[in-house]
Structure formats: structure tokens, C-alpha cells
Amino acid sequence: MSDGIAKEPIQLYEARKKIHPKRATGSFRRFKWIVMAITLAIYYITPWLRWDRGEFAPDQAVLIDIANRRFYAFFIEIWPQEFYFVAGMLVMAGIGLFLVTSVVGRAWCGYTCPQTVWTDLFLVVERYFEGDRNARIKLDKDPWSFDKLRKRVLKHTTWLIIAVATGGAWIFYFADAPTLLRDLVTGQAHYVAYATVAVLTTTTYVFGGHMREQVCNYMCPWPRIQAAMLDEDSLVVTYNDWRGEPRTHGTKKAEASGEAHGDCIDCNACVVVCPAGIDIRDGQQMECITCALCIDACDDIMGKIGRPTGLISYSTLNDYNANMALATDPESATLNPDLVRDKDGKFVDAIKHFDWRIFLRPRTLLYFFIWVSLGLALLFALSQRDRMTISIQHDRNPVFVTLKDGSIRNGYNVKILNMIPEKRLIHLSVEGLEGAVMTVSGIEGAPASFATVPVDPDQVRSLRVFVRQSPENIKSGQTPFSFIATDQQSNEVDTYSTVFDAPE
């Protein structure tokens, strides 16, 4: 600094300020418990679900089989070239996030994000061993003692057990879960499995136990993207200044003196429950994950002091602004909640409250339309996709071969994809090439216009196929024709167009 004025030097780095969220109770907290139970259950149980696919495919309901390049999800089996289904689902997830965010703000962050769920879980553990907010603050300050050590050891051990279980569950999605578990325990699993568990254990322990809101604030890109999805009609957790301010510690005194006073009694209940460590009364903030725990805390207080709930609520910016205008004294430009409530403390009719019709806006409808269309398109594609296909590669060197009897032969590499876990007999024939006969490598029989090829379950069979035309049928140059593969049992057909080359 060169201006010569003594200023506090700016701190370049700042240590994390430890947050001690207090346990909240209320409807949103209950909802969060339920979401937490469901998401954790899905994560831990899914790899153990079984799904019978017959003897030629794994019986794990959800499996990402990287070694064999297959992805199984219940009745769906995806081959690598069908990865667009996965891509489509990711696009749907993205649009779905846009939709949810434009309607109810950062609901993903507040309820379902793994970072939120695991942080919540770690907080449960912390609270169990060290007590609620005040006890934890005190414990932090206390000098080391046997009791403190015991609590800390228990807490970190439990965290680590959860972390190991989290990392451990992850790898079950990539291999047969019961086998892998046995290998893991007996020390026979591949080192990659152990390394993955170790890495995920570390990240779970560090993110859930030590970094928590720092992940949201500094590492995660979602909050920034989601912030861009919000508009004036999105529901966000809002402190309603128009009925809360001016806040006062002594409502009775204020009432007696006739001073303007709002509903907020400045009890700090909303601040102490906040997992992001912020004061929602300062307005919308980057750190707020809209977990709505402050709503629960404040509603509780409002109940106790006999005021309507909703001082902190899910509100839209439009409603908030309109209500603010109503509650602002035009002369002094200060807030006076008496402008919006009658003598009994009831709010005047002009005050805007939540109205579900706010969900139906062009933007949300558009997102919904795109999301549904994508879903239907994917479902349609899924129902129409081929489970038996062929692909053909025509020999380029030599393009044709003249045989002793003057006939011309072309070579093709034919791949037959049997994408179901059952053995098939594929009837392979040529169409559009007069008098053509073929011989197929590995298939016995005299040259004929077709061949019957067994293909193993869930396999690609590669064949060398020679197609031969006798001199009287040969047309000079290129003749287009098709290979047709038919499963005569299921009547599935796939056709592949290619050409037959002869001398010009």
C-alpha cells in the first residue's frame, strides 16, 4: 500500500471457521432425514440386488462391467456403441436439474447432493459422541483430557468406518459384489480395488468430516451453474425482512412504547442451525445451500412467541420485492411491518404468499417439455433398438479375385452381434446379387446362397465370408447388394448394404 494510511493488512489466506450446526427439528428436517435414508439406501443396497439373466450373463442388477464392456441396469443391457443411452440419461439429469433449480432453487444442494447427505451423516455421528452445538463448542475449547480424547477417537473412528464403507460400496458397482467382497476381505482382490477404496475413503473422510461447506463454496461448480438457473420466480429460502424488521429483543417493551417492530426477536436460532454458517437475514448468499433448516428453526420460534410461521420461508424474489414495497414507509424509507398487518397481527390481503401456480412458467414448462421429450425419445429408442446386428467390411486389397473357372470372388469381414445372453442361430444370406454363393469360414457346407451361423450368447462373431459369382452372372464394375442376417426364431432381421467388385 502506498497511500500511507495505516490499514489492517489484507489477509491473503483464511483458515476455515469451524461451524457447529445445532440440531434442527421440523418438517424440512424430517424431509431431509427421509431423503437421506433413501439416497443412502440406494447407494449401499443397489449393487447387492440380483437380476436373473440366465447362465450367460451376470446376475447383478446394476453392473458396470468394464472388462467386458457391458453396462447392465435391470432389464437393460448396454453395449459400448449404445453409450448414447447413458449420454441421454446424463443430459436428462442436467435438464432435470435446470427444471428443479428454476422451480425450487438449489434443492439438489440442500437435500440430495452426496456432499450434503454424507456431511449430514457425519454430523449425526459428531452429535452422538460430542453432543450438540454448545457441548461441541465447549469441547473444542477444553484442554485435552481422557474424556475429550475418548470422544474424538470414537468420532473419527466411526467416520473412518463410514468412509471405508462408502469407498467400498462404490467398487461393487464394477464387479460381482459378493465375489468382490470375499476377495476384498481375504486380500485377493486386485490392487486397483484397494486403491479405489483407499482414495474414496480419504475423500469421504476429508470432505464429510473436515471440509464440509468448503467443498460447496470453493470446489464444486454446481452452485455457480445453479445460480444461473434461478430467476425472480424461483422459490428460494428467504428471510422476510418486511415482517421481521426492525428486529428487537424486547417485543413487549417495543409494543408498549409503540415503536415499529418486526417479528424477528433476534434469537439467532436460524443462524446456529445453519450448516453453511451464515445468517440468512443478511439476504441471499452464495453459501446458502437452501437446506431450509433455518425455516424449521424459525418456525419453531414463531410458534413459541405466538406469531405466524414463515418469517423465513421459501419465497420468490418477486413476492419478496412486492411485500417489501408494501411494508416500506414511503416517507422515512424504513421498514414498518405495521403497514402490512392489522391490529390482531394478521397480514393484510395485499401480502403475497406462496402460490403453486408459480411453478407453471414458460421457462419451467420448456424445461419440463424438453426433459419429458428426451425421456420419451430414449424410451422409444430403447424399445426399438436392435439386439442382433451385422456389420460388413469389404476387402480393399484385393478388391476381387479371379478364380480358375473364371468366376469372381469378393471377400468380406462380417461381424454378427448377438446382444442377448442366449445362443442364436443366425441365417446369413446375400440379396441382390444374381447367382451368388458364399462360403463362410468355420462353417461347413458347400457354397450356397446362405449359411447358418451359430453365435454365442452376448458375443460378437467375426467371420470371413467369400461371395462368388460365376462368369455368366458377372456385371462389370461395382454391383450393390446386401447381406441379410435373420434370427429365424425371433424374426429379427438386420440388413447391411455393400458392393461386389468385378473387373471393369
Binding site: M1, S2, I10, L403, K404, G406, S441, P471
Partner: protein, 291 residues
């Protein structure tokens, strides 16, 4: 740091003085964990430099304590691969050549090895697609001068054709019917018309009739009564559509007068038994192999 720092009213945080379109940058401190992250990477890089090859020297680089080397890794991988192949290679040599195709693993090994060996040793003359060209026979068609069974191909590969350095090479010599004055010029022309006629090509039938007699007296001993050729003597079939040295009247006349004779080197002393077997099976599978 800029001098005109001001304080942002809403957040109470000082700005950096940078402004873009009216948006000012707050000078919030970085989280300290980032700084730790930076120190962490520095510590890691020091460890890395010590453990792995890192610092460039003039002709090489520092070796690193772990002795890791990508070159050595490749060498190890190749050695491991060769070790794995050894048993297959032994099986290949020990198994009857005609029975190998009954063993899918061994056959796959043979074809893959044959494919790469062909690219290295054979494609220069016979072409990458094995379709021959010029004076080099096509190996994908069904016409074989010296026979097209696996055993025939094996023999040709092992000892070559007209390859004098190999005692067991197969040898035949077509006489210079014209150059050595064995046949009159007209007789040669007639014989050529006859050859065209038996291979189903346009011919001067009158001349061909005369040529038939010339053929029976001079050619049939090797090329067969009906021109079907004879593998043991390397006498090509003359009644088919395939002509190594050309099937026009002039080309046939030239070949009778002063024949071109191909030479194929013997590979027995240059390639391993396993490789020759691989090549035999591979070539046999190209499209024209005989039973």
C-alpha cells in the same frame, strides 16, 4: 495491489480495484486449504523428482531412485509375451500340420502370427493383400502351380522354388521351344491358339485344331492331356482363367518360345519352424487353399 481500493457497501469487503462492466472484484481471502494444496503439490513434486526419472541431462535424464524406465517396461512386457507364446509355439511345431485347424486356440495363434510374418517377409513380392502381381503368383485365388494343400505350401515355403541354394528345392524347367529351335514358329502359334481354346477364350479354331497335335506331342506330358496342369512338376493349369504371364495369344506364344520361370527363395534356414508353419496355415486360409 491497486491503490484505489474501495470498500463494497453490501459485503463490507474491500475490492481489488479491478472493474469489468461495472462489476468489481471483491478481495476475499483464499481459503487456507488451497495454500496447503499448493505446498502439497510442491512436496509431491520433490518426491517425484527423487523417485522417478525427471531432470533432463544432456544425453539422458536423472534415473530416479525407483529405477522406473518406460523402455525397460516395454522390454519386460515383450519378454513376458514371448514367454507366454513359447508353449503355443512348441505346440505348433509338435502338432501335425493338418490337425492344427482342429485346435481353435492354436489356429488363432498361427493365423495371427502368419499374418504379421506375411507382412514382413512375403508382401514385398506377393503384395500386402497376397494378390500377387506381375510375375508373382496370386495367393488368394484357387490356382496353385506347385500345389495348394497346407503341406504343399509348407514345402514351397521351406525349400523355395528353383532356389539353387537349397538342395531340396523343387525344380522344373520348361524348354525354350522357340529360342532353342525345338518347334517351328507356326507350330508354336498353333499350339497357343489351342491353349486359348481349351481355356474357353476366343481362338482361331482352324489353327487350334492343328495346335492340338503339337500340344499332345510336346506339352501334354507336363501340362496334362486336357491342360489341367501338374503340381509335382510345377506345370500350371492351362485350361483355366488364370494366367500368371498373361493369356493373350502373343503372351502365350512368348511363353512357349522362351519361358519365364519364377524363383521363390527357401525360408527354411531363415525363419523358425513355427513361423513357417504359421505362414503355411495363413496362406492356406487366404481363400484358395486346397484340401
Amino acid at each position: 495491489m491497486s491503490e484505489n481500493n474501495e470498500t463494497d457497501d453490501i459485503t463490507g469487503v474491500e475490492t481489488t480495484g479491478h472493474e469489468w462492466d461495472g462489476i468489481k472484484e471483491l478481495n476475499n481471502p483464499l481459503p487456507r486449504s488451497w495454500l496447503w494444496g499448493l505446498y502439497g503439490t510442491i512436496v509431491f513434486s520433490i518426491g517425484y523428482v527423487i523417485a522417478y526419472p525427471a531432470l533432463p541431462l544432456i544425453n539422458s535424464s536423472t534415473a530416479g531412485l525407483l529405477g522406473w524406465s518406460s523402455r525397460q517396461n516395454v522390454a519386460n512386457d515383450i519378454a513376458a509375451l514371448e514367454q507366454g507364446r513359447e508353449s503355443l509355439g512348441q505346440d505348433l511345431v509338435a502338432t501335425d500340420l493338418n490337425k492344427i485347424s482342429g485346435n481353435p486356440d492354436l489356429m488363432q495363434f498361427a493365423l495371427a502370427g502368419g499374418n504379421s510374418a506375411f507382412k514382413v517377409y512375403c508382401s514385398q513380392c506377393h503384395g500386402a493383400g497376397a494378390a500377387g502381381g506381375g510375375i508373382y503368383p496370386n495367393l488368394v485365388d484357387d490356382d496353385w502351380i506347385w500345389g495348394g494343400t497346407v503341406d504343399d505350401i509348407y514345402l514351397t515355403l521351406k525349400h523355395g522354388i528353383r532356389y539353387e541354394a537349397d538342395e531340396d528345392t523343387r525344380y522344373s524347367q520348361m524348354p525354350n521351344f522357340g529360342a532353342d529351335g525345338i518347334l517351328e514358329r507356326d507350330a508354336i502359334k498353333d499350339a497357343a491358339w489351342y491353349v486359348r481354346s481349351i481355356s474357353g477364350q476366343e481362338a482361331d479354331l482352324e489353327a487350334a485344331e492343328r495346335g492340338a497335335i503339337v500340344y499332345q506331342d510336346n506339352c501334354a506330358a507336363c501340362h496334362g492331356d486336357s491342360g489341367e496342369g501338374m503340381h509335382d512338376l510345377g506345370a500350371p493349369a492351362l485350361n483355366d482363367a488364370i494366367w500368371l504371364y498373361g493369356g493373350s495369344h502373343e503372351e502365350i506364344v512368348a511363353q512357349i518360345s522362351k519361358p519365364k520361370q519364377g524363383v521363390m527363395p527357401a525360408w527354411g534356414d531363415r525363419l523358425s519352424e513355427a513361423t513357417i508353419r504359421q505362414l503355411s496355415l495363413y496362406v492356406h486360409r487366404l481363400g484358395g487353399g486346397e484340401k
